[in-house]
Symmetry: C2
Subunit: 222 residues, 2 copies
């Protein structure tokens, strides 16, 4: 028996995404739900980072996860092993989520009463960066095997994010990856970007990440 719903989300027909995003952000503000938009390349470790995050914060607050995918329920199935509420969003081939699709997910998740909701966006460094989902904060994961030159090639996503989690730090010795160069390139795109090296496998850096998240939620709830 499935422990999560699957929702086929539809793009907004009105196409004023910025207005839709502001409206959703206002609604979430009123109901006290902190929404994170989590973006990365395919396979950078969004779901495993979420598993660690739920493990660290799941006893202190009510968490909901929206897993967006073109097709498949792989990630929702994984998250459903935790105490977080989870829903799978299918985008029907779409390469990103807009604010209206996010709103449909929030409604179906029945997010009222949840302290933190994370939208796991489609694995893609290009299109998701172009659409405000209505989230309070945008978070990006870049993994060590992808290389430190990515801020040069995918500028926008680094500009729109508040936090950059540099995942798979445990395999750093096996790759030509220069963390200092990554920081330099990323801060060139966005001087306010908070950069936290982590390993979702070993747990490295997860305290710094979840402490940041907790402090943001505390601030939001004030």
């Amino acid at each position: 028996m499935e422990t999560f719903r699957v929702l086929e989300v539809k793009q907004s027909i009105f196409e004023d995404n910025d207005r839709d995003a502001e409206k959703l952000r206002e609604q979430l503000r009123e109901q006290g739900t902190f929404l994170i938009n989590l973006m990365s390349s395919p396979g950078a470790g969004k779901t495993s980072t979420l598993m660690r995050t739920i493990d660290a914060l799941g006893d202190k607050m009510k968490i909901g996860i929206m897993e967006a995918d073109i097709d498949s329920d792989v990630d929702a199935r994984t998250i459903s092993q935790t105490n977080a509420k989870v829903i799978q969003l299918h985008t029907g081939g779409m390469c990103h989520l807009d604010a209206e699709m996010t709103r449909q997910g929030i409604e179906e998740l029945k997010a009222d009463g949840l302290d933190l909701v994370v939208l796991e966006n489609v694995g893609n460094l290009v299109c998701p960066a172009e659409f405000d989902t209505g989230a309070a904060k945008n978070v990006m994961i870049l993994s060590v095997p992808e290389g430190h030159d990515k801020p040069l090639k995918y500028p926008l996503i680094f500009q729109v994010c508040d936090v950059l989690l540099v995942n798979k730090m445990d395999v750093l010795p096996y790759f030509d990856f220069d963390l200092e160069k990554l920081k330099e390139y990323a801060l060139m795109r966005n001087p306010n970007l908070k950069i936290i090296p982590i390993s979702a496998r070993t747990g490295e850096g997860m305290n710094e990440w979840t402490n940041w998240l907790q402090s943001q939620i505390d601030e939001f709830k004030k």
Copy 2:
């Protein structure tokens, strides 16, 4: 001094991409230029695989490379160290190339007289798969760190590709990556897909890949 040009490519205003693609394929057929459309996630190793490919085939045939990127010349700069002709295509934020953008690149590259041209598409598993570029063959790179579940999540790109290169085999011991499961999932999407495990770093599998490519070009030239 730059050894390559940078071209700002524009999307077709006619929007009959399939017709444009057929037209370009016919033109390339007539001039005897074999075009490969190379797709992958960001950081899967497209450029380093191309470096190895040029190294293996560059003395036997005339090769041209079109490096597509949203912004930056990082990859064209790398390729310009080889004896291949290279051009950088800037997509101006676009997440993929269509046939008209490819045609503009072919024209600027002056591809007439080249035996093999490789279009390195924007790093993205979603959008590039939706647009026929006019290439004779589509090739995809998936790297070990991305995980073996990708054919479940990004079905279309596996369906449209002729060859799947599984890169970064040298780091297999450090990841939970099941090559047999990947093959099973990928062949489920596309039973005709040729799957070649490689390492652009160590050279593993490069013979099988370049032999395949050589045989395809020989066939094409007949």
